[in-house]
Structure formats: structure tokens, C-alpha cells
């Protein structure tokens, strides 16, 4: 009976020691679950739109809020609970004519709350000083460059996004943005989506408007009073230009077996204790280990024969 107990415990200790030792070098993922598309924000309107030298850019700002992760701590320091957001997906753009992936780019910046307030102040200042229509948040090219430069300076994290264009080249399926670190709930994201100025849009069916280029359409709306556009025309063009985005996060929960040296040493100590007890038991009762001795003798004979 004692032999059975000791051998069983020694073998399980040896196995635990082996697992802990290898996991201390390469942490093992024991459990992983994820939410494939968790909304990070409700559909967000652009905070600023600008026509720069060669692009038409949209700036979206939203607060990062999500629920996720483990609600409890791991019951032992042998384990590490990880929650991370490896990817963001941005969608909401469509109605293009022959859009290619190098016609569009997107970036995501993580900024803190105080930077958000400053960005909003900068946008308001530029809007106040511009002569553009109040229908859209259209800022000047220079003002936009200053705002983006400020965001880049204050960004906690910058992520480049890859566009996925639909095969028909009429809409952007999504932007995929691989994050280097998990965005912090409570901070904010500033998302910049830029198009080449000559990107053309579908759906311009308003009488008297022959423009399809995005920069020209933005210019029409911005200077609607100059071009003496009717309200209905402005509304129709606004629907094309004024695009909300939705941002989704892929969330992953995982549990890592991440032993510290103290855990490995404890397992080794137990193994040493049980093996010592087996050796002691063998000294007092060698006949109980006759089976092992026979096995060892047979193995030795086989080895020496070879």
C-alpha cells in the first residue's frame, strides 16, 4: 500500500515538475476564448473633415469603452489571466467607383482624455475661423495638419490599418488594424481615414451636379452658399460625404500557466521527498520491489547483449 501511494505521488510529482519547468520557459496557454466582434463604440460621426494637398481626410474621435476580461483574480499565482484586444475592425465606407487599396489609408491613435479635449478645442477653433458651411465639420487643410500633428505627438499607441476592398471595388469591407497593445478603456481613439483626392463616388444623382470626385463633393458642400445649392441638394450630397464608422474589437481572454521559480522548486522538492521515501521503503522492504528489480535485470541483459 505504501509503495503504491509513494510511487503514484512520485510519478505525478515528476510529471508536475516537468510541466511546470517547461511552462516556466514557455508559458502554456491553457484556456482561450474570444468575442469575435465586440463593438468598441456606437456608429461615430466624423469630428473633422479636411481636403489637404493630395487627400481628403476624415477624423473620428470616440471614447474607448468595453467590457471584457475576467471578473476575478486567478486563484493562484501559478496562473496569469490575460485579456487583450489584438485587432480592431473599422467599417462604414461604401459607394465608390473603382476603389483600389492604395487609394485609401487609415490610422488609429490612442490618446488620453485630456488630449481629446484639446483636439476638440482645436477643431472648434478652426471651424470658428473658417468660412465654411456649418453642415459638416469641415476644417482647413492647415488646421487639419496641426490637429493630426498634435494627435501624433500625444498618441499612446499608433496603429496602421489595412483596407480590405470588396471585389467589385465599390466599398471597403473593413479596415483591419493589428494593435501592439490593448487599448485602455477610458482612453479615446482618434481614427483618421484618408482618400486620394481623385477617388470617385457613386450615387451622385442630383440634378445639376456632375461631380463624382470626393474632393470636389466636399468642396461643393463646404462652399454650398457660394455655389447656391439648394437644401435638398446639400442633404443628398451630405449623405454621400458624411459617413459614420463602426469600430469593432476582437477580444481574447486567455489563461496562461506561468509558473514562477518558487513553484518549480516546490515541485522539485516534493519529487525529491517522494523519491527519497521510495528509496527508504526499498531499503526496508526490497521484496515489494521485486517486480521492478526483475524488469531492471531484463533491461540490463538486453542492453549488454546488444
Amino acid at each position: 500500500m505504501i509503495k503504491v501511494v509513494l510511487v503514484a505521488l512520485a510519478i505525478s510529482s515528476a510529471m508536475l515538475f516537468a510541466i511546470l519547468a517547461s511552462a516556466s520557459i514557455h508559458p502554456l496557454t491553457i484556456f482561450s476564448s474570444g468575442i469575435p466582434y465586440a463593438p468598441l463604440t456606437s456608429p461615430t460621426s466624423p469630428s473633422a473633415i479636411a481636403v489637404t494637398d493630395d487627400k481628403v481626410c476624415y477624423l473620428y474621435v470616440y471614447n474607448i469603452q468595453y467590457g471584457g476580461g475576467f471578473s476575478t483574480k486567478p486563484p493562484s499565482d501559478l496562473y496569469q489571466y490575460n485579456f487583450f484586444i489584438p485587432e480592431l475592425h473599422i467599417s462604414g465606407w461604401g459607394d465608390f467607383k473603382n476603389l483600389n487599396s492604395n487609394d485609401v489609408s487609415a490610422r488609429v491613435f490612442e490618446i488620453d482624455k485630456s488630449s481629446v479635449l484639446e483636439v476638440q478645442r482645436m477643431i472648434k477653433d478652426d471651424l470658428r475661423h473658417s468660412n465654411y458651411s456649418q453642415y459638416l465639420s469641415i476644417v482647413s487643410g492647415g488646421g487639419y495638419r496641426e490637429i493630426v500633428s498634435y494627435i501624433e505627438q500625444k498618441a499612446i499607441q499608433k496603429t496602421m490599418c489595412m483596407p480590405e476592398i470588396a471585389p467589385q471595388k465599390t466599398y471597403i469591407s473593413k479596415f483591419t488594424c493589428k494593435t501592439a497593445s490593448t487599448p485602455s478603456s477610458g482612453n479615446a481613439h482618434a481614427v483618421e481615414v484618408c482618400f486620394r483626392r481623385d477617388v470617385e463616388l457613386y450615387g451622385v444623382t442630383v440634378t445639376g451636379i456632375n461631380e463624382t470626385r470626393i474632393d470636389r463633393l466636399v468642396d461643393l458642400i463646404a462652399n454650398s452658399s457660394l455655389y447656391k445649392l439648394r437644401d435638398s441638394t446639400i442633404n443628398t450630397l451630405s449623405l454621400l460625404i458624411y459617413r459614420d464608422i463602426s469600430v469593432f474589437a476582437i477580444m481574447r481572454n486567455s489563461v496562461l500557466l506561468y509558473p514562477k521559480p518558487v513553484h518549480v522548486m516546490r515541485a522539485l522538492a516534493f519529487l525529491a521527498v517522494f523519491v527519497s521515501c521510495i528509496v527508504l521503503h526499498y531499503r526496508f522492504r526490497p521484496h515489494e520491489y521485486a517486480g521492478f528489480s526483475r524488469l531492471l535485470r531484463r533491461l540490463r541483459r538486453r542492453i549488454y547483449r546488444q
Binding site: 500500500m1 505504501i2 509503495k3 503504491v4 501511494v5 510511487v7 503514484a8 505521488l9 510519478i11 505525478s12 510529482s13 510529471m15 508536475l16 510541466i19 511546470l20 491553457i30 484556456f31 475576467f70 471578473s71 476575478t72 483574480k73 486567478p74 486563484p75 493562484s76 499565482d77 501559478l78 496562473y79 489563461v255 500557466l257 513553484h263 516546490r266 515541485a267 516534493f270 522492504r285 515489494e288 517486480g291
Partner: protein, 260 residues
């Protein structure tokens, strides 16, 4: 070395070693493999999930199931010894009836329970949990295996070796379902019906036979669903422990007088 009532503990120890070792490949290796599976479950599942009774009890339940099968098989072997008369050989030489039954208790019940509890304790010592609630499962674990051993040994000592293994395996497989069905019945029946009290008594009996499973189930059912408060798991553990101690004392007394 003699203990109380003239039991020679050295003889008991020799016979226990003989019983445990004689079918080395079937019993000892099986218990070792079951222990490895328990250790793996502990390290990969027990702590890894959210700290909830369900997460920790289900993988441990699988290990207990394996040990219960082992206990049933070993008890059946004791029954075979009694039926075939093999026990006469041991009693003719050195063992008294009390010593024989004591070694049977050690091999059938104590050894598997000891191995599983020791594995659990070793793991707790290595992992050093931040809360010690997980250690509170140990007495329930021990009581569950001992109650299972008591039930199958009752059949084995009565000479029903096949019933011991069949009932043991069936209990191991279905006890959780029986427990769940009884609790469901309690919720369905509602109080102030004769059938409810019958179901309540049956639940208490089954709970005593499987205190760890009951503890887990008790934790998952909201008390608002049951018209009458279910027995506290600690009370069930106490009753279960008292029951198997009393039953084994009865086994010893009856085995002394049994015509072999």
C-alpha cells in the same frame, strides 16, 4: 506490533502489501494512471478557469469516477475471495478475521482515497492558492470515496462479487444524474405534499452517499427554487462520515460471526 483488541498491525501491513501488489499491473498501475490524470486535471483545469464551483468540480469529478471504478473492482475481488474460499487460506495461516477485513478496508477504501487526497494536497502546496476554499473540498472528496467503498464492500462481504462491481460502476456513472433528478423533483413537487418528503428523504440518503457531488449541486441551485431548505453540505458530510464509520464497525462485528 499489536494495536487495540489484539490486532497485529504488522500482519495487517503485510497482507495489505500482498493485496495491493499481487495484481501489480491491474491495481497499482491503474491507480498510478488515475493519479496522473488527477494531477493533469488539477494543473490544467482546476485553477485555470474562473473561480467557480462548477469549473473546479467537473474535472475533479472525472478523476473521482476513475477511482470509484478501481474501488469497485477491488471490492469485487474481495467478494471473490470470500465466495471461492480463498479467504480460508489467509485466515488459516496468520490473519484473524478482523485483520483480514482491516486490510480489505485499507486496500479498497483508504489507499485510493489517500492517493487522490495526497495528490490534491501536493498540488495545493505547489500552487499555494490565494484563497484556501479549494482545500475545503478535501474532506468531501475523502468521504465520497469512502462511502462508495462502504457500499460496494457491503455487497462484496455479502458474497455478491458481481453485484459489487456492477453497482459500483453504475453508481460511479449515474450518481450525479440521480442527484440532479431528485433535486429537480423536489423543485417540481413543492412542499406540503407527501411525495415531496419522500423525495427529500431520498435526496438526503443519496447526498450522504456522495457528499462532494451534493456539495457541488447545492452550490448551483438557488435556494429560492426549493420550497424547503436543502440540508447543509457540512451536515451531510458529518452524517456521511458517521455513516461509514458505523457501517464499517457493523461489518467488523458481522464478519467475525459470518460462516465462511
Amino acid at each position: 506490533m499489536r494495536g487495540l483488541s489484539g490486532v497485529d498491525l504488522r500482519r495487517v501491513h503485510e497482507h495489505v502489501a500482498f493485496m495491493a501488489n499481487r495484481k501489480l499491473l491491474s491495481y497499482s498501475i491503474a491507480i498510478i494512471i488515475a493519479n496522473i490524470i488527477s494531477a493533469l486535471f488539477l494543473i490544467f483545469f482546476f485553477y485555470a478557469g474562473p473561480a467557480s464551483p462548477m469549473w473546479s468540480s467537473i474535472p475533479l469529478g472525472f478523476s473521482i469516477f476513475i477511482y470509484k471504478i478501481l474501488i469497485s473492482i477491488q471490492a469485487s475481488r474481495v467478494g471473490r475471495e470470500l465466495n471461492t474460499g480463498e479467504v480460508q487460506i489467509y485466515l488459516a495461516h496468520t490473519l484473524t478475521r478482523t485483520e483480514y477485513l482491516l486490510s480489505a478496508l485499507l486496500v479498497v477504501g483508504i489507499t485510493p482515497a489517500l492517493v487522490l487526497v495526497a495528490t490534491y494536497l501536493t498540488f495545493l502546496a505547489i500552487a499555494a492558492p490565494l484563497s484556501y476554499d479549494f482545500g475545503s473540498q478535501l474532506p468531501y472528496l475523502f468521504a465520497e470515496l469512502m462511502m462508495h467503498a462502504t457500499i460496494v464492500m457491503a455487497l462484496a462481504i455479502g458474497g455478491h462479487e458481481n453485484a459489487a462491481s456492477i453497482v459500483g460502476v453504475m453508481l460511479a456513472l449515474f450518481i450525479w444524474a440521480i442527484m440532479g433528478a431528485l433535486l429537480f423533483l423536489l423543485i417540481l413537487l413543492g412542499a406540503n405534499k407527501p411525495a415531496f418528503y419522500v423525495a427529500y428523504a431520498a435526496t438526503l440518503l443519496i447526498a450522504m452517499a456522495t457528499p462532494l457531488t451534493y456539495r457541488f449541486t447545492y452550490g448551483t441551485i438557488p435556494s429560492s427554487l426549493t420550497p424547503l431548505s436543502l440540508p447543509d453540505p457540512l451536515l451531510v458530510l458529518s452524517l456521511s462520515t458517521a455513516t461509514f464509520i458505523i457501517l464499517w464497525m457493523v461489518f467488523f462485528i458481522r464478519f467475525k460471526r459470518r460462516d465462511l
